[in-house]
């Protein structure tokens, strides 16, 4: 992790405990810490009938003793977070292999609950399955548990989920595993500390692909849900120095931006050429990138080029990549920055076609 020198902590209200490639997160909302799930793409209509929710926080986490909630303080690092009470603490980490939020501690009781309905829950011998925001199997690895999976017939839902995990011999441990329908629950093979160590190693490898930056910025890039918008992907590429990482983002940006969005990825490819990155990319991958750029250029030339004026134009505000551009009038809009972006795109296509970096 040569570029990240300082240690850093997380404010879970702003930066959840998470990692790339896994959906479960630990985050903090105004009323406490939550098991959450990163968004998983656009919801289908009527998703709420099957437990869909727009909130990232799924189950609220409480520490209990004798039926009373204990106040806790939060101590969160990038790979392990702790909730600390006067009666013990609970530690959390993301388990990449199981796609799970792991938790273990010495508190008397841990409660995961939600007031929301709209989905079914099922109790098993060794845990519980909830379906709010996604299918999550909560396996109790150490301790006992209570859960009411009664069905509310007229509400088309199980009762609001409330999972209580009680410590046995002073210890409790659980894994909240997110998985698709019709897949087997994976075995838990690693300890919480092993999971945290793996995440740390992966993060450090990730940081090696970045330009020098602070730890928190690097962590957010590494842990957040993958961006999908062409403009976002292109902008993010400037944070990276590794040719492969930049290429992946440039390609994703180009494929997401083949039509209807200002082509910021042209400039990204020119940067790759100017900084000698293209030499590190295989011919096959260059070909993929070239085709994506050519598709985008073809779209602009066919649908957004005024042959009478010899200029490109915007038809809609959404094509600018800006939220509410105040400079946008009635279509067609001939914006100077668009001419520049298309010049860059044309130059990028040329660069990839002629192999000028060799």
């Amino acid at each position: 992790m040569k570029h990240i020198q300082e240690a850093f902590s997380l404010d879970l209200a702003k930066t959840p405990l998470a990692r790339r490639g896994s959906r479960p997160v630990l985050l903090q909302l105004p009323d406490g810490c939550y098991l959450g799930l990163k968004p998983a793409g656009n919801a289908l209509p009527f998703a709420q009938v099957f437990g869909g929710t727009s909130s990232m926080g799924i189950l609220r986490i409480q520490i209990m003793d004798g039926g009373k909630e204990l106040p806790y303080s939060v101590n969160a690092g990038p790979f392990i977070a702790e909730l600390i009470t006067g009666k013990g603490r609970v530690r959390f980490a993301i388990d990449k292999a199981a796609n799970a939020l792991r938790m273990e501690g010495d508190v008397p009781q841990l409660r995961l609950s939600s007031p929301l309905t709209g989905a079914n829950s099922v109790k098993y011998a060794d845990g519980v399955e909830t379906n709010l925001g996604g299918r999550v199997v909560h396996r109790i690895l150490r301790g006992t548990f209570e859960f009411d999976d009664s069905w509310m017939l007229k509400r088309w839902s199980s009762v609001p989920p409330c999972l209580d995990i009680m410590a046995v011999d002073g210890r409790m441990e659980a894994a909240c595993i997110e998985l698709p329908a019709d897949t087997d629950v994976p075995e838990i093979t690693r300890s919480l500390d092993e999971c945290a160590a793996e995440n740390k190693a992966d993060f450090e490898a990730f940081c090696d692909t970045l330009k020098p930056t602070d730890g928190l910025t690097a962590y957010r890039l590494w842990s957040e849900a993958r961006k999908t918008g062409s403009a976002e992907l292109a902008c993010e590429s400037y944070l990276f120095s590794d040719p492969r990482a930049v290429f992946e983002l440039a390609l994703a940006s180009a494929e997401a931006g083949k039509s209807g969005i200002t082509p910021l990825f042209g400039a990204v490819v020119l940067r790759m050429r100017d900084e000698g990155m293209l030499e590190k990319i295989s011919e096959e991958d260059i070909a993929r990138l070239r085709e994506a750029l050519k598709d985008a250029l073809a779209w602009w030339r066919k649908y957004r080029f005024d042959t009478a004026r010899g200029r490109y134009f915007y038809a809609y505000r959404d094509e600018t990549g800006e939220e509410n551009p105040q400079w946008f009038g009635e279509a067609p809009v001939y914006a100077p920055q668009l001419q520049e972006r298309l010049s860059q795109l044309e130059a990028a296509v040329g660069a990839l076609e002629w192999g000028g970096w060799n």
């Binding site: 656009n42 289908l44 209509p45 009527f46 007229k154 019709d182 649908y303 038809a315």
Partner: protein, 599 residues
């Protein structure tokens, strides 16, 4: 004369106006005397969608009141008074509608959401070549307005501070010399405008629509005496709900609704197939349509398909539907080639249930964790929770396995056929020995019987004469007791003696619902109880004939146990009792053409 609007039995307040293969549909506003336009691919209007337009006829630039008449060919709006301005809309199956008229027309965007206004509009772009104007609606797609005669202009005001359009309207004006207009309105959910076809004369479009509907009607046998007109409406509704492949949908299927739950639901496709006895090959195609979406790994069929994606699962209706179709039409449509094509897919689907919905006993008994898997979303058979083994699903699986055996035999796979039939027989034996309590079938939660008075307990009658005679007789006897499950308008989904019975806000917890009545009566029919089937089917068909193709009804206005007056939902509402439904129409067609016996 069949039609909607002035002088007709039905209007377009509850029934939507559509056309086979058209995403566009129209309906009459509940509060205002206006026809409104939307697109079933884009939104669920009744759930508060933004993509809805008012169609206004103008005289001297002011909106005037009009009446309308609609049939399969077109929807014609006529201004009251001596001016008599008209505008006529003809839908097509080419992602386009046509409008002609002799007055000015204003097509104004107005969200179904209170205060939603023109929120759907994301921009206006007049093409540089002057051929027309494109409007962009974000996730709702685009529309291109092309004047063929007359002119089109767009009035759209963008609120820079708010960052959205305050208003958006398309103004259509007649040609000054001819006093008429003719425009095409194209819709596309993605990509760019690319229509390169011809614009046929308007009258031909209208004639083609009528001819297409007439051809579609050939899929059905004639209805029993007295139900001919209702059958016309039912067939028309199914025809309007038939979508072409597009977006996520890979084969022509039938939507549940145009303006509300605009999904192709899995078990409804097979239910529609049962009625297509005029063309069983088409019925077979309907049954097979879902398999275009079969998951390669698990064999799963998605339960609901929208233009934008798919999810969930629904009961394996396919075996029951195929059995019924063969009983009524023979198996000539099951060629060896078809059997070879579909046997592996049916097998995979059946194995999906025994693998991923296994009750964990080591045999083929299944159990579900959600009532949505069965389709009986709020039935009392699930009141004790999950996992639950329910007789309706077990019966469907018995039928599916038997159908798989039939296909295996047709494919020349005799050993496989024997194995599948053996599995079907064993599961049927399990159903009879473990899930029949002498009076009715029951559900079991983790082995414990569920005490329920649901109609779903009798659904295994769908196995017809595969059930023992004493069970058939008992089921028929129970279903014909007035005031329990049987009401004046058909079978209630929960016994009226049950404290859980509810006639509002629920789906199958008391209301008399089309598919439940269809399944039960079809089962009674193939069990040999044709008289009982006819009596029940006739009652329900009479109700649909009177009210239109509505999914379900309360049989009484007071609760049968308490006498309490029922507080019905305020219309209009995005729920089963309000809009016409393809599901109801499909159920009606089987009942009216096959189960109702002329007296």
């Amino acid at each position: 004369m069949f039609g909607f609007g002035k002088g007709q039995k039905f209007d377009l307040i509850r029934a939507p106006y559509g056309r086979r293969g058209s995403g566009f549909y129209l309906f009459e506003d509940y509060y205002l005397p206006l026809i409104r336009l939307s697109n079933t691919k884009a939104d669920s209007m009744m759930s508060g969608g933004d993509f809805v337009f008012d169609i206004k006829i103008l005289q001297y630039e002011r909106p005037v009141r009009y009446y309308y008449f609609a049939d399969a060919g077109s929807l014609k709006m006529t201004q009251y008074g001596e001016v008599g301005g008209t505008a006529e809309i003809a839908l097509t199956d080419k992602n386009m509608l046509r409008i002609r008229g002799n007055c000015a027309l204003r097509i104004e965007l107005r969200s179904a959401r209170e205060g939603g206004g023109a929120a759907a509009c994301r921009g206006v772009f007049p093409f540089l070549d002057g051929s027309g104007t494109e409007l962009y609606f974000g996730k709702h797609g685009k529309m291109f307005f092309k004047p063929l005669e007359g002119s089109v202009s767009v009035e759209a005001v963008y609120d820079r501070a708010q960052g959205k359009y305050a208003s958006c309207a398309v103004l259509v004006k007649p040609d000054e010399e001819t006093d008429s207009f003719d425009i095409a309105v194209h819709e596309y959910m993605s990509g760019e405008f690319s229509y390169g076809g011809a614009y046929e004369p308007f009258d031909k479009v209208v004639a083609d629509n009528k001819a297409d509907f007439e051809a579609f009607k050939k899929n059905y046998r004639p209805a029993a005496s007295g139900y001919e007109e209702a059958a016309e409406y039912a067939m028309w509704l199914i025809w309007t709900h038939r979508v072409n492949p597009g977006g996520y949908i890979k084969a022509p299927m039938i939507l549940m609704h145009l303006q509300w739950l605009n999904a192709c639901c899995a078990w409804q496709q097979s239910l529609h197939a049962m009625a297509m006895q005029g063309n069983p090959k088409e019925g077979w195609r309907q049954i097979c349509a879902l398999f275009e979406h079969q998951d390669e790994r698990t064999g799963k069929l998605p339960g609901m398909l929208f233009y934008s994606g798919a999810g969930a699962i629904q009961a394996p209706f396919q075996g029951f539907a195929l059995d019924f179709l063969i009983r009524k039409c023979g198996d000539g449509f099951l060629t060896a080639e078809e059997c070879k094509r579909m046997y592996p897919k049916f097998a995979k689907w059946a194995n999906y249930w025994t693998t991923y919905r296994s009750a964990g006993r080591g045999d083929d008994l299944i159990a579900v964790n959600s009532p949505h898997d069965s389709g009986w979303d709020d039935a009392s058979i699930f009141k004790d929770g999950f996992p639950c083994s329910s007789p309706d699903l077990i019966a469907f699986l018995v039928a599916l396995m038997s159908a798989t055996a039939r296909l295996a035999r047709g494919a020349g796979e005799e050993e496989a056929a024997k194995e599948w039939q053996g599995r079907s027989d064993r599961l049927l034996n399990t159903l009879i020995t473990e899930f029949w309590d002498g009076e009715r079938f029951i559900s079991r939660k983790k082995g414990r019987p569920v005490d329920s008075l649901s109609l779903a307990n009798y659904q295994p009658i769908l196995l017809g004469d595969r059930l023992p005679r004493h069970i058939i007789d008992k089921i028929a006897e129970k279903l014909m007791i007035e005031g329990e499950l049987l009401s004046p308008i058909g079978l209630c989904t929960e016994s009226m003696k049950s404290p859980l019975c509810s006639f509002v806000d629920q789906f199958v917890l008391g209301r008399v619902v089309a598919p439940a009545n269809l399944i039960i009566t079809a089962g009674l029919h193939i069990a040999g109880k044709t008289k009982e089937a006819s009596i029940i089917a006739r009652r329900f068909c009479d109700k649909l004939r009177e009210e239109g193709m509505i999914l379900g009804f309360a049989p009484y206005s007071r609760h049968p146990l308490t006498g309490e007056k029922i507080r019905f939902n305020q219309p209009p509402a995005a729920n089963d009792p309000w809009p016409w439904s393809g599901w109801a129409a499909g159920s009606f067609m089987t009942m009216a053409t096959t189960l109702v016996v002329d007296e």
